[in-house]
């Protein structure tokens, strides 16, 4: 059985709804990559150097990290030689197989959150400006609330105009409280307050917002380290997750973001937002491979329930969905 079929079978066994929604979100993405790959395959009956160069270009357009693309194409070449494949159609299967392999590496993928069975779980959100930190907190608060958890939000963005109010609106929408201080106050102090409040109220989950900051601003990164230290000091083992929010529209710079934020705050997972647009966020494959940070959630819109758990096979499947269906027809 071909890899696609195996993958498809595996996925249909999973909740169909999720897959559909995921696919829908990736529709545009899928059209981009898969139409191009199909077109490529149609034009080249035989696999040769030019074929691989064009393939390289298609993957680059998906923002898949450049080195990753080169490596993937090299491996593909070897595999094609090893299996003595000449037909370009057969290469499609291997492309996806390799992509999933590269993403996963040797490690077990941990894409669930580290939630404490009893006691407080603290989750810190970090990232550059405008990527979707606050929105993701709103969505995640909604998710936990639905699971029957007691949730509290910490308004740690004391810098950007209207940031506290934005989180408060989300708090109202979802029906959870927000701990805040006035604009301009020390974010570390807000976190301290929030932790005390969470303890007093017997909260299960504390979601901490922070101001967006560019990773090359040394002082702001120091400030973030301090915020994290305060949380660590108050609760041993916390923050239980540090989630880096990445915008799928971002190009190669996302790798630099991941590197710098990891260094400063020991990021444990990624939330990839705005996948409902046409960008592919392919850079997460390179980030996972080089920095070993797994994607845990994807954002697929601006509404409360537009958040999905990440599944690498689904992701790659989503990218190549068009291929699978066509492959079946043949």
């Amino acid at each position: 059985m071909g890899f696609f079929n195996k993958l498809k079978q595996k996925l249909t066994k999973q909740t169909n709804v999720v897959t559909e929604k995921f696919k829908e979100g990736l529709t545009k993405t899928r059209e981009n990559i898969s139409t191009k790959v199909n077109d490529l395959v149609a034009r080249y009956r035989k696999v040769d150097e030019d074929f691989f160069e064009e393939l390289e270009e298609i993957l680059i357009q998906a923002d898949v990290g450049f080195d990753t693309v080169l490596e993937l194409v090299d491996e593909l070449k070897m595999e094609v030689k090893r299996r003595n494949i000449q037909d370009s159609v057969a290469v499609r299967d291997i492309i996806v197989e390799k992509l999933v392999e590269i993403y996963k590496g040797d490690e077990e993928e941990i894409n669930t959150l580290n939630i404490q069975n009893d006691g407080l779980t603290v989750i810190l959100f970090v990232g550059v400006n405008g990527v979707g930190k606050t929105t993701t907190i709103g969505k995640l608060a909604h998710k936990f609330k639905q699971e029957g958890k007691k949730v509290l939000l910490a308004a740690g963005d004391t810098f950007r105009a209207g940031a506290i109010e934005q989180l408060e609106v989300w708090g109202e929408r979802v029906g959870v409280d927000v701990i805040k201080q006035s604009e301009g106050s020390d974010p570390a102090a807000v976190m301290y307050d929030a932790i005390q409040a969470a303890r007093a109220r017997d909260t299960d989950i504390l979601l901490c917002d922070t101001a967006g900051r560019l990773q090359n601003k040394v002082n702001l990164m120091k400030e973030l380290e301090k915020v994290k230290r305060v949380i660590e000091r108050e609760i041993p083992g916390a923050p239980h997750e540090v989630l880096l929010v990445l915008d799928a529209t971002t190009g190669q710079n996302a790798m630099v973001q991941a590197k710098q934020f990891k260094e400063a705050t020991d990021v444990t997972g990624i939330v990839l937002t705005k996948l409902d647009g046409t960008a592919k966020g392919g850079i997460v494959i390179a980030i996972r491979k080089e920095l070993h940070i797994p994607v845990k959630f994807v954002g697929l819109g601006e509404k409360m329930d537009d958040l999905q758990e990440f599944n690498p096979e689904q992701y790659v499947y989503g990218l190549f969905a068009g291929l699978v269906e066509e492959g079946d027809e043949e």
Partner: protein, 447 residues
């Protein structure tokens, strides 16, 4: 680090080529591969990269490069020229309506920085052009977006027009124009909600606003960190709305910002401003040349090249190189070399412009003293023609005379002669090495 500068990469390629004495088409092809990589690393759109590389290749195999003594740098120069060209040479200013108020619509994806940019632009208009802008809060969707603009308005003490989030953005915009006319505002800046270019309903809303308010500018706000998709986004916004210009935000980050180049190349809409920080005064006019350097990751090496071009006579350089090869360099040549380098500006300034120079160990501590160079010049100028050509004849009494003539201590004269002797020795060694085939690309420091 993945983000190696183009100049560094090209330099490496050049090292392989240098020994050949001639640049072939195959060499150019290899160099172009480096150019392609560097541009892709900088997020320049693939299609743009491809047509660009084609254009540059044509020029690079042409006369101007092949005949050059320094083909590597000639290629970089061609690349930079074409890049600057692609980004639209001249600075493009913001429109002013014949009949005020000038209406500006800010549009773009979510999180691009529209609201912040609206505030900055208003601030710039007032401060620099003495205008009286009205800010319009037409983002009724994102939680607290109105509040954000109002807060900025308060900070800047500029009025913000809002009808809350229960009235349609089309109505808000229309009423805002009426209000602006009544109160004699000469600019109206409409902050719209972020939206996906594929969201038909929301794109329709923008079209309706456009129809009602007939804007003089529709500025597309784009995050400088955007990847390959930037072109799709920009093209789509432009097709649907007819964008008049682009604002590039978050350029104070460490992204190369290749998206900018692509947008300009694909939509042919000028980049009017760049956002350089979160503060309200961090909005600047766009400079195509600086952006070109940034995309290539080459620091200011381009200005260095330009300086070199402007000051170094290629013919003379060639002659000099010949002399160095044959180790027949005289103190006169040495003096001339110094003069040329000095024409380019203070030495340590020049060094700072070199890519990677700040990373080079030792270079930081190496203070190059312009005074020292003038001393060297003074010493050489105090020699006779014969002495300059045959420094070995300079004995103790001649040294004393030269020292007196130049007003420098004898020790300094001694040191210079010794250094020169060693330099010649080094050249000989290098030439021998070259002959044995182990060519070590020996070049004058400024070539």
């Amino acid at each position: 680090m993945a983000f190696e500068g183009l100049s560094e990469r090209l330099q490496k390629t050049m090292q392989k080529i240098r020994g050949k004495g001639k640049v072939t088409e195959a060499d150019v092809k290899e160099m172009m591969r480096e150019v392609r990589l560097a541009l892709l690393y900088a997020d320049v759109n693939l299609k743009v990269v491809k047509s660009f590389v084609k254009k540059v290749s044509e020029r690079a195999v042409g006369q101007e490069v092949m005949k050059s003594l320094t083909p590597g740098q000639q290629v970089i120069k061609v690349v930079k020229d074409e890049l600057t060209e692609l980004m639209g040479g001249e600075q493009s200013k913001i429109a002013t309506a014949n009949k005020p108020p000038t209406v500006v619509m800010m549009v773009g994806l979510q999180g691009a920085g529209k609201t912040t940019t609206t505030g900055k632009l208003a601030n710039l208009l007032r401060k620099k052009y003495n205008r009286k802008p009205l800010l319009v809060a037409a983002d009724i969707y994102r939680p607290a977006a109105i509040n954000q603009l109002q807060t900025l308005g308060k900070q800047l003490t500029l009025p913000v027009f809002s009808l809350g989030d229960k009235v349609s953005p089309v109505e808000i915009a229309t009423k805002a124009i009426e209000k602006a006319k009544e109160e004699h505002h000469d600019y109206v800046l409409i902050d719209t909600a972020g939206r996906l270019h594929i969201d038909e309903n929301l794109m329709d809303e923008l079209k309706q606003i456009k129809e009602k308010v007939n804007p003089d500018e529709i500025l597309l706000v784009v995050d400088a960190m955007t990847g390959q998709d930037a072109v799709n986004v920009a093209q789509s916004f432009n097709d649907q709305l007819g964008v008049t210009g682009v604002v590039l935000t978050k350029l104070d980050g460490d992204t190369r910002g290749g998206a900018a180049l692509s947008i300009r190349a694909v939509t042919e809409k000028p980049i009017k401003f760049v956002g350089m920080g979160e503060k309200m005064d961090a909005l600047e006019p766009f400079h195509p040349e600086r952006m070109a350097s940034r995309i290539l990751g080459m620091g200011d090496v381009l200005s260095l090249i330009e300086k070199a071009e402007a000051t170094i006579d290629e013919e003379k350089a060639k002659e000099l190189e010949q002399k160095m090869r044959s180790a027949s360099l005289t103190l006169d040549d040495f003096l001339e070399q110094l003069a040329q380098v000095r024409n380019m500006g203070p030495l340590d300034e020049l060094l700072k412009m070199l890519p990677g120079a700040n990373k080079m160990k030792g270079l930081n501590n190496l203070k190059i003293d312009d005074k020292q160079i003038s001393h060297v010049e003074a010493i050489i100028q105090s020699m006779t023609k014969e002495e300059k050509e045959h420094p070995e004849i300079i004995n103790a009494s001649r040294r004393r005379r030269i020292a007196k003539g130049s007003g420098r201590p004898v020790q300094e004269v001694n040191r210079l002669l010794k250094q020169f002797e060693e330099m010649k020795k080094m050249m000989k060694q290098m030439n021998n090495m070259t002959k044995k085939g182990k060519r070590k690309g020996f070049k004058l420091p400024f070539m």
